[in-house]
């Protein structure tokens, strides 16, 4: 297993934040950074996924691996994420249905849009396989499947020019904002909660910045110089979110998606805020790592096993919601839910690494 590093650490941090934020109403929600800015942990997670693609498609010496190998690698990852999404969806639906039966409470069936599934399983099960039927709070993995699925295109273009890859991605992003392109939900009307055509820009940005960061000191120099700008953006984000100031989508000029704060379309304000967060917090890891070794170790372990931890986190947060609902919540319950969740995520990461170790030692024997 690789040693703790900044990427895995921040990934682990994003995973914990997403877990806490997916138990709405719980006491600890208000202590997550998502409450104090325009962008949140979803941006961090997708950006780091792009950065990791940059690492994974290069050898230890930083030279890109053969293109065919990268394509197959990303294809294998897409299959893995898809499998995780289907498993998580099935378990979530079973948890909702099981809780409704056990508590004799049909109200629970309406939760997170699950009502559509139980009312119309024939169409919904097709939609589930197609990723167009998504439950509330279970919509990051479908985005992730699609992003990893189209990543080979950008990786291949990036072999010729990282700038070209970013330009291609940026044009798709801008066009989607201007023309409000999104993928449809089905069954039912509406669109994806995370518009893949917009969110891909963050994945590609992560991938491209990783490449530039490796190649020259130019990027590193400028991230240091722009540090004050990052701090200013973070402070502005805190003021705007605490005072609940945001543009009225009905009043902004056309094309309106250039001006609003909508998460679905990763609008420019969110993107800019995220870049500010990046600039402001990038130096933090080097300061933290020697001081809080244990926490760094824990978060890095989560980050190394992000898919398993994310999937388990979705399930655990749903169970946490059910527990809060049935018990009525309160600080004690919230501490119990969050505490056992954090332990469960740590155990998941440990278990995955243990299984990998025991498998590889067996194959060696």
């Amino acid at each position: 297993m690789r040693d703790p590093n900044a990427i895995d650490f921040w990934r682990g941090f994003a995973l914990i934040t997403i877990f806490i934020n997916h138990i709405p109403g719980n006491t600890f929600e208000r202590y997550t950074f998502s409450q104090y800015g325009i962008s949140d942990a979803a941006e961090l997670f997708v950006f780091l996924a792009g950065w990791s693609i940059g690492i994974a498609t290069r050898g230890r010496d930083g030279m890109p691996e053969p293109p065919g190998k990268s394509v197959v690698r990303l294809l294998a990852r897409t299959v893995e994420v898809y499998r995780a999404q289907i498993t998580v969806m099935l378990l979530a639906l079973a948890l909702i249905a099981g809780a409704a039966l056990l508590l004799d409470n049909p109200l629970i069936l309406e939760w997170h849009n699950a009502g559509n599934f139980f009312a119309d399983p024939i169409q919904s099960v097709c939609g589930m396989a197609l990723l167009t039927y998504q439950l509330g709070y279970f919509n990051i993995l479908p985005l992730y499947v699609l992003l990893i699925g189209i990543a080979p295109l950008f990786v291949l273009v990036g072999r010729f020019s990282l700038l070209a890859a970013l330009a291609l991605s940026g044009s798709v992003y801008l066009a989607s904002l201007l023309f409000e392109w999104n993928l449809p939900s089905w069954p039912g009307e509406g669109d994806w909660f995370f518009d893949p055509l917009c969110w891909q820009v963050l994945l590609v940005l992560g991938f491209v910045l990783q490449g530039w960061n490796l190649r020259s000191g130019f990027l590193r120099r400028w991230t240091r110089r722009l540090f004050p700008a990052g701090i200013a953006i973070v402070l502005l984000g805190i003021v705007l979110s605490v005072m609940e100031i945001r543009p009225d989508p009905m009043v902004v000029p056309e094309p309106r998606l250039l001006f609003t704060f909508e998460k679905t379309y990763l609008t420019p304000a969110r993107l800019l805020h995220f870049l500010g967060v990046l600039l402001a917090f990038a130096p933090l890891y080097a300061l933290l790592a020697p001081r809080i070794g244990r926490i760094v170790g824990y978060l890095s372990q989560l980050g190394r096993n992000s898919l398993a931890v994310f999937s388990m986190g979705s399930i655990l947060s749903l169970i946490g919601q059910l527990v809060r609902f049935q018990t009525g919540g309160g600080l004690l319950i919230d501490m119990l839910v969050a505490g056992s969740g954090l332990f469960g995520l740590g155990f998941t990461a440990w278990f995955v690494e243990w299984r990998t170790r025991s498998r590889s030692s067996k194959s060696r024997a």
Binding site: P24, G25, E29, L101, L103, D104, N105, P106, L107, I108, L109, E110, W111, H112, N113, G115, N116, F118, A119, D120, L135, G136, Y137, E180, S185, G188, E189, G190, R246, D248, P249, M250, R256, T260, F261, E262, K263, T264, Q321, R324, F325, G328, G329
Partner: protein
């Protein structure tokens, strides 16, 4: 001229309702709304509170299609038609010659944290005359503080109405295991409070299902038990109940002088108390 045109439109509507003043005779608990199918019959007082629908009326007066954004609500399991299809049919039955166009969206998440923002996007995208918003379930399940929910809902409804769009609220369901739950009842009350304060019609799904649950134990069984049968019935009846609330509210909205109606100022009827 316009008023006369409205009368022509309203005549079949009144015929369908047959008893347009039923809600005013709220004191009579036995008076079921005859516009409803047998299994969905609930006295008007326990079914809705009416208020003006200025934007809807303006669209009808100009002969424009009636665009409705329906938030939440699913079909009953095994139902032949989905909730939006049923609502469209029920409304076109109640308002002949009116083209009803329904955009149906799910809105997972809590109104008190995030979902209200997402709703704004939906409203901007759909540009409806009317938003039919089934609200409260997610916040109730997430144990959101009722006051936080109420202020977020109130703000969202006020925002929609400030842009000249009508709102009909639909409160959460009644089910036996939640009947004594204090927090749950606070959420249901909060929806009612907001409807009164913001002067928008309210479909009282909780009261209606409570009435239906007490009325009869007969009818087909349900393999999952009585609460699930009641829930299915509630889902089957929701479109009819919403349509009746809209139709009744419309009979109490005078035709606007100007083509584009601003937010309605006063409800013609106050909230009605449920008998018993």
């Amino acid at each position: 001229m316009r008023a006369r045109a409205w009368l022509v439109l309203a005549a079949p509507l009144l015929a369908v309702l047959a008893q347009p003043a039923a809600a005013e005779q709220a004191a009579d608990p036995g008076a079921s709304e005859p516009g409803l199918s047998q299994e969905c019959r609930v006295p008007g007082a326990q079914l809705y509170t009416a208020a003006k629908l200025g934007a809807v009326r303006a669209a009808l007066a100009e002969g424009r299609p009636l665009k409705i954004l329906a938030i939440g609500g699913s079909a009953a399991p095994g139902a032949s038609a989905s909730y939006p299809a049923k609502l469209e049919a029920a409304l076109e039955h109640a308002l002949p010659k009116v083209d009803v166009v329904i955009d149906h969206r799910g809105l997972p998440g809590e109104v008190a944290s995030g979902a209200a923002e997402r709703l704004r996007t939906m409203v901007v995208e759909a540009e409806p005359e009317l938003v039919v918003w089934q609200v409260g379930t997610h916040d109730a399940i997430a144990r959101v503080d009722a006051e936080a929910f109420e202020s977020a809902l109130s703000e969202a409804v006020a925002w929609i109405r400030s842009h000249g769009i009508d709102v009909v609220l639909v409160d959460p369901i009644y089910t036996a295991s939640m009947a004594a739950d204090v927090d749950y009842n606070r959420i249901v009350d909060a929806v009612r409070t907001v409807a009164i304060q913001q002067q928008v019609p309210l479909v009282r799904r909780y009261e209606a299902l409570h009435y239906l649950s007490s009325r009869s134990d007969r009818g087909e069984g349900h393999m999952l038990g009585r609460q699930f049968r009641l829930n299915d019935l509630g889902l089957r009846c929701m479109a009819e109940h919403v349509a009746l609330t809209i139709a009744t509210s419309l009979t109490r909205t005078e035709t606007p002088e100007e083509p584009k109606a601003g937010p309605a100022t006063q409800p013609l009827t106050g909230p009605q108390r449920a008998p018993g």
